[in-house]
């Protein structure tokens, strides 16, 4: 490797007392001198090395509990070959990201993409920095780099045994050109990645450190509570703020087109005053829409004779005509809210010098920047978004940045003063971007042996992409999040057709953990119906339709083995199974369920098998499976969002229940990574959960559940 001065920007990084990073750009690097040994050095955009060998790894994706903050750091550290005990992580600055030509790639955190879509470039960043550090040491010794090697943060010159620490040569390394090509480690040789390293974010979280968006505290900061039109799409018509304005601590009432907010010296005072506002809303003609109208809208879609086809193989008409038996069923599921524990929040500070600072819990720092720019009219260069830890995300904080827009508009009413907006739980429950409600009609043709030869599905479901990412819609209007799992079935079925009716209505829909996951419920319960009709074991029936080598087959076999499928269970406990791939991974689940004499279901145990190709942190992956089980259990048992008079009926955890510890089934996660691909972990385990539970309920009660949640079903044994 030749040692040359790189043309990259060279950054001096110093840490302020508050712990925030102050960045100072230097002259173009050709003119830069070697950094003094006392300085902190950015070796490349991802890696900062302190003179005492502490390594700070920059993370572009958000942390909402899924563990990406640690997993990405592990991948960088693995290739960097530093001492993991000296590693910490920080979020990359969205402002700097823009100024440095999007140097950190995507900041979007969703679709279980955090690790799998950035693993290649973050590992290369680690490997590249390691080679630069080795070259810098070699340069110091005036020896060929090939005679040197790095191990755990120390570079050794093999022939002489001389050693230099990363912290001693980082300054010189930073001024070298990055190598053109680096070789990544074979995952079987991993020492830091692939291991259950303790998560980097946990110590601060158990100490109660102010790491979340709602914890922002700034000098002179004020607080805001917000009221949005309870009817979606509505606007503010009239506000009488006389009583509110007179209340203690109230500084200002802010009226915008679609919301009213109160700014006060504490959040409680702001919220108390908000309750005293007399607001008249223009309901935009949506004030009479309820569940009934929404169901009718979806049914109208199902009744359309010719719909866009997401899949069409063979000839379903002929196949149904020739089938020995035709089975039909209608399935449905309701709207659901994300209900993150931390409500939507955004702190904004419009500074006198025309710079806007924003602190928020976001799944996409870059999208927050764009929203802040649109709301403030400032160019991106004049905005910084500080990414805070998220008190849950699950998709709510990824696409829509409504809370950022509001936070900035509110702060604009108080120039020079930082204002922290936090939604009340009620606002959060009633102003979400909900998991779409949907109805599907499924039709199957079986041959004499009960084999599935033809399957047709009509899906009526609001389109998430139409609301949030219209450019990603197919030309014929197909939204892949609405048809997945049905349009890409792994089962060998000769004749298949999947049709899609996009019917959106006025309720905003969004990405809710594993968007499209309801199709797993529909498909895998329907397949289970067919297995029972065919008189076959549900595992065997599915295996009979999965090609040898299909990883769906592998996880199904793995879960059956781990759950001891086919062996006797204690009296009253019954099993159900499902397998669904998605988000880059393959997941299968076996649920063990009992139903009491009064018809109360109890999910006792869930065994999940996942093949994600590679596993960066096994313990975090198991935690994600546990998380998917509890997140998915609420909608199976009792969660739903109902619409009446154009608005959401549910208002808080009293009527949108979250499962408690007493309802947590024993979760056993079997990781079966087969290598060769990178799958996600944030979402896959939710995919087979609902169908596995409902299939077990069928065995327990003889009742086929075709709509959720279970609270509406009489599960008493007839």
């Amino acid at each position: 490797m030749t040692i040359t001065i790189s043309r990259r920007d060279f950054l001096k990084v110093s840490t302020t007392a508050a712990g925030a990073l102050a960045l100072e750009f230097c002259f173009p690097v050709a003119a830069a001198r070697a950094a003094p040994a006392s300085e902190v050095t950015e070796v490349n955009a991802w890696i900062v090395i302190h003179p005492d060998d502490r390594v700070v790894i920059r993370i572009a994706r958000s942390e909402m509990g899924q563990g990406t903050f640690t997993a990405l750091a592990q991948l960088v550290a693995e290739e960097l070959d530093c001492d993991w005990a000296k590693v910490s992580a920080e979020f990359a600055s969205p402002n700097e990201h823009i100024r440095r030509n999007r140097i950190w790639g995507s900041m979007s955190t969703g679709g279980s993409m955090g690790v799998r879509s950035s693993q290649d470039y973050v590992r290369k960043a680690g490997a590249s920095a390691r080679e630069m550090l080795v070259a810098a040491a070699a340069g110091r010794w005036q020896v060929p780099p090939a005679e040197c090697f790095a191990d755990t943060g120390v570079i050794t010159h093999k022939p002489t045994g001389r050693k230099l620490r990363y912290g001693e040569v980082a300054g010189e390394a930073a001024r070298l050109a990055p190598p053109n090509d680096v070789k990544l480690r074979d995952p079987k040789d991993w020492r830091i990645a692939g291991k259950s390293m303790h998560r980097l974010d946990i110590p601060d979280k158990v100490l109660g450190k102010p790491v979340f968006g709602v914890d922002v505290a700034l000098p002179g900061m004020l607080h805001a509570s917000i009221a949005q039109c309870p009817v979606f799409g509505g606007k503010v018509k009239k506000v009488d703020a006389t009583d509110a304005t007179a209340m203690r601590g109230v500084k200002k009432v802010v009226r915008e087109e679609d919301f009213v907010a109160v700014i006060a010296d504490s959040w409680w005072r702001a919220d108390q005053a908000l309750q005293k506002l007399d607001i008249e809303w223009d309901e935009a003609g949506n004030g009479r829409i309820g569940n009934e109208q929404i169901t009718a809208m979806l049914r109208e879609g199902l009744d359309v004779a010719s719909l866009p086809r997401a899949r069409n193989i063979g000839n379903v008409e002929t196949a149904f005509a020739e089938a020995a038996q035709v089975v039909e069923a209608e399935y449905s599921s309701p709207y659901l809210n994300h209900a993150t524990m931390e409500p939507m929040t955004c702190t904004a500070w419009l500074k006198p010098e025309g710079f806007l600072e924003v602190w928020t819990s976001t799944q996409n720092g870059e999208a927050s920047m764009a929203e802040a720019a649109a709301a403030s009219g400032l160019p991106l260069e004049k905005i910084e978004v500080h990414k805070m830890m998220l008190g849950g995300g699950f998709g709510r904080r990824g696409g829509p940045q409504d809370f950022v827009r509001q936070g900035v508009l509110i702060a604009r009413a108080m120039p020079g003063v930082p204002v922290k907006l936090m939604w009340s739980r009620e606002e959060d429950m009633q102003h979400g971007f909900y998991r779409p409600a949907s109805i599907v009609r499924m039709k199957a043709g079986l041959d004499q042996q009960g084999r599935l030869v033809a399957m047709q599905t009509k899906i009526a479901c609001p389109s998430i992409l139409k609301v949030l990412m219209p450019k990603m819609l197919r030309d014929d209007g197909i939204d892949f999040t609405a048809v997945r799992t049905l349009s890409d079935m792994p089962y060998a079925i000769t004749h298949q057709r999947v049709e899609y009716a996009a019917r959106n209505g006025h309720v905003p829909v969004g990405f809710w953990r594993a968007p499209g996951q309801q199709n797993g419920f529909y498909r895998e319960c329907f397949i289970d119906e067919l297995a029972h009709i065919a008189g076959q074991d549900p595992v065997a029936y599915r295996l009979g339709m999965l090609d040898v080598g299909d990883k769906n087959r592998l996880v199904l076999e793995a879960v059956a083995k781990a759950a001891k499928w086919g062996t006797p269970l204690p009296k009253g406990i019954h099993r159900g199974v499902a397998v669904v791939d998605g988000f880059g991974s393959y997941a299968a689940a076996v649920a063990e369920v009992s139903v009491s004499a009064v018809g109360e279901p109890k999910v006792r145990r869930i065994v999940v098998a996942i093949d994600s190709g590679y596993v960066v942190n096994p313990d975090t992956c198991r935690a994600q499976a546990e998380s998917n089980v509890i997140y998915g259990l609420g909608p199976v048992l009792y969660q739903d969002i109902n619409i009446r008079n154009g608005r959401v009926v549910e208002s808080n955890f009293r009527n949108f229940r979250l499962p408690e510890i007493s309802e947590m089934p024993k979760v056993e996660t079997v990781l079966v990574p087969t290598g060769g691909f990178w799958g996600g972990h944030g979402e896959p385990a939710i995919l087979p959960l609902a169908p596995a539970i409902c299939n077990a309920i069928f065995v327990a009660t003889g009742k086929r559940v075709r709509s959720l949640p279970l609270k509406y079903h009489d599960l008493r044994n007839a």
Partner: protein, 149 residues
């Protein structure tokens, strides 16, 4: 003006008597460990200790706190980590972490009155809501703490 004993020191606060303790802690005393989650004493993200008992801070008024000893997550341990916090790290309990300070306070109160709770007792006492689903690890950590004594 009101005097509150928080984490072993007296604090004078100028708040309405009906202001919930949570907001006195968060916005007037700058103690941000207790979180707002529901405002109706359901989720437990705001749990603190009041005279050793786990209390939903959003559901008690400041005026009721006179003469009581309030402990928040910030005051749980005078020297580093409380054993419950250590167990939380050892068992990798938190995910997003938002509800965890409340959970840690609830578990601290439970173990103080019942050092070796059964699963049924855990189910009855720990009613904090966690959206990420850390419950399995919460249970494991409680049993490990009980075993360690």
């Amino acid at each position: 003006m009101m005097n509150l004993n928080v984490n072993g020191s007296m604090h004078q606060v100028d708040v309405e008597p009906e202001m919930p303790l949570l907001w006195v802690l968060r916005d007037h005393l700058g103690l941000l460990g207790a979180k707002y989650g529901c405002g109706i004493s359901t989720c437990g993200a705001c749990t603190v200790l009041v005279d050793g008992e786990a209390v939903r801070a959003c559901g008690v008024r400041a005026a009721e706190m006179a003469g009581k000893r309030i402990v928040t997550i910030e005051g749980l341990s005078k020297d580093g980590l409380h054993r419950v916090q250590q167990a939380w790290i050892d068992h990798e309990v938190p995910q997003c972490g938002y509800c965890q300070t409340g959970l840690i306070m609830s578990v601290t109160a439970l173990l103080a009155r019942n050092p070796n709770p059964t699963d049924a007792e855990i189910d009855r006492s720990i009613t904090n809501l966690c959206r990420c689903g850390t419950y399995q690890r919460v249970r494991t950590a409680i049993h490990a703490l009980a075993k360690a004594g």
